[in-house]
Symmetry: C4
Subunit: 218 residues, 4 copies
């Protein structure tokens, strides 16, 4: 039996579709924005991934594609995978993530613009940081790198990969004017990372609304 | 069989009613604000449109009217179509839109006031822009014209039409202190355009909350 | 058959309970805040009203009380009506409202504080104003009077009534640090007035977040 | 029959799980943040408490643990109780609370940072304060102490307890960059206190967004 018809693919596709609809309800993947993937096997490499250009509030398990490490479609779908597949392949390949979730929230969009010149955004001192894999204290300082947005996804994946390799234990990054990428060893952990980072970006953004005049930067 | 009792009218009416209730849940059509239409045929011209003065959180498919190009009601409804029917007829007629959706969000209301003196609002540099029909890069600059609000809908439709004809590929416009109009080749595309433009207006508005002091304008 | 067991009382109680739960979902009646009433008859006067001190997110039709013009309970309930019953009796009696809805939103609370010194808040130029009964143009100017909060409800009702009598066609008022009162000829119209006024207060409040520095006042 | 299989434990576990999911929907316990407990008996002491590290949007009654006054697990669960159990035991033990709810909202996080230097935050003049147990007028002044966050929960519980003993009738406290703790004689009262304090923190925070420039402090 092929992976495309396996129970584990069906279960993972259902999990991704449910996350899509719940993120849509929160306003994190409006329009056709956002994309999601999860690794089903490594030898051979098999990735479940959301298709390009669909309404994320209506995404169903049946629409989730199965692709290989070259982005070739192995399931019977007449559509192509997300345009941002090279970023998903880089994160699940070189960085060994088990799942990758990409959201377009208002707060990640705003902060990715306001901090673009600094090349990233530091978040520290929040208890919520402890929800990130491997973080054990609120005194942790998370550096969220920000990359210039691009429509050249292969080149962008290369730049992002090189920068992430320089950081000790990164949990996500921002694309300027675009949104947040995060990942985890499995879908549940990646979902937790989205919620934590989106929460922290909102806390940082709203704090700046109050403190914008007395202090520049956060 | 008349269009008013056809399956395609029933399906479109259901689609518009579902959009109405989901937009209401997001706070985009509170009270009796907002109105929605979709073209069912062009020869003769047939338009499904929401009635005037109803609670958009409780709109049902059975309440959707069928009208012709003169706004004459063809379905058996004792009510009149939306007061803003002339704008819908202009957009679906002269501009050939397949569906028109009009929302009253807090952000479109605020920004339509703050930028009224400039005659419009430019939105550029956001990945989310790519969800607008025909836009292929975040480097796109969308000009959202703002018109003075009016209760003279025929005159307003004339002014809006003339201005839209001067723009290369407009996707929407704002009425001052009133809200957003957008459209698409079909209901799904128009819904996507609402979500994208509402998202971008929120991002622009919240950014101004942070940057209001250091820089005037966005 | 008494009014307390009549179908119209059951239907009205259900309507008020549904509004309570939907307003709770929007964050307008958190905790045990907010109260709601609707007139069932005038000769003799009969009012359906929410009880004191209950969770508005869990309010059921069975909890709605029936009272007379002296606030005497006519239904078989072991609880007392809302502490703010005198305001409901004043609005449904002297002002002849058919239904009264009182919400505690964040925006009404904030603006009732910031504008208390001016004795009220003017809202004008918004299309949404047209949803208020009797208003036909966005050029309408709605004056929302603000009263000092009090725990002496009979005295407060007297003060509010006297002030409302001086205004041409008031649709609501604010109690400082407390919330919004609005009403209508029936429950549906009062609900529409809540949505419209809450929307407008949010629009005014968020606008002030942007313009707070360049201009004082709205 | 043991408490762990009793109907009252099942009912309380269900109540805590429902609160968890509703708070998650409001964005107050994203990721795995937040924890909840309720006293089932005092001789011997028995506490129902949420487990460590679970998704609060998917918490079920079956996941709620039963522990004694030493945090020993009496139910058959392979997991440990919340890391913050010492705070729950202190509040339900020394302070005799019947239920304790801890949330991580954006507003409590922001204000716990901005007011940390003052050791707390005063909230006064709001009608909503009347929903706090024992408060009968909006003229009440609630002092919400803020404590430095720590991963040493036993030591933190000691510091918090000592400070709360100095206050007349405290209803909650903030941990810096972390969130809100509140409690009540039962689960329903504690839930009401969460809603009231979260509402008030949002009102205070948003007011500061408007007034940040003209006046420092609230």
């Amino acid at each position: 039996m092929s992976v495309a018809t396996s129970e584990s693919f069906q279960a993972t596709a259902k999990e991704l579709a449910e996350i899509s609809r719940s993120f849509y309800a929160r306003g994190w993947v409006l329009g056709t924005s956002g994309n999601f993937s999860a690794v089903l096997g490594r030898e051979p490499f098999r990735l479940a991934i959301s298709p390009s250009g669909v309404d994320k509030g209506a995404l169903t398990a049946a629409q989730i594609l199965l692709i290989d490490e070259h982005a070739a479609i192995l399931s019977e779908h007449p559509v192509k995978p997300s345009d941002e597949t090279p970023l998903h392949l880089m994160l699940t390949g070189m960085r060994a993530a088990g799942a990758v979730l990409h959201t377009h929230s208002v707060w990640s969009t705003i902060l990715s613009d306001l901090h673009a010149n600094e090349g990233g955004l530091a978040i520290e001192g929040y208890e919520m940081l402890k929800g990130l894999q491997g973080v054990t204290t609120h005194q942790h300082r998370e550096w969220l790198p920000i990359f210039e947005n691009s429509q050249e996804m292969d080149a962008l994946a290369h730049v992002v990969s090189a920068r992430l390799n320089e950081l000790p234990n990164p949990h996500g990054f921002l694309l300027q004017g675009h949104g947040l990428y995060t990942w985890g060893t499995n879908v549940a952990q990646a979902k937790r990372h989205v919620e934590i980072l989106e929460f922290l970006l909102e806390a940082v953004g709203r704090t700046r609304m109050i403190t914008a005049n007395s202090q520049k930067g956060v």
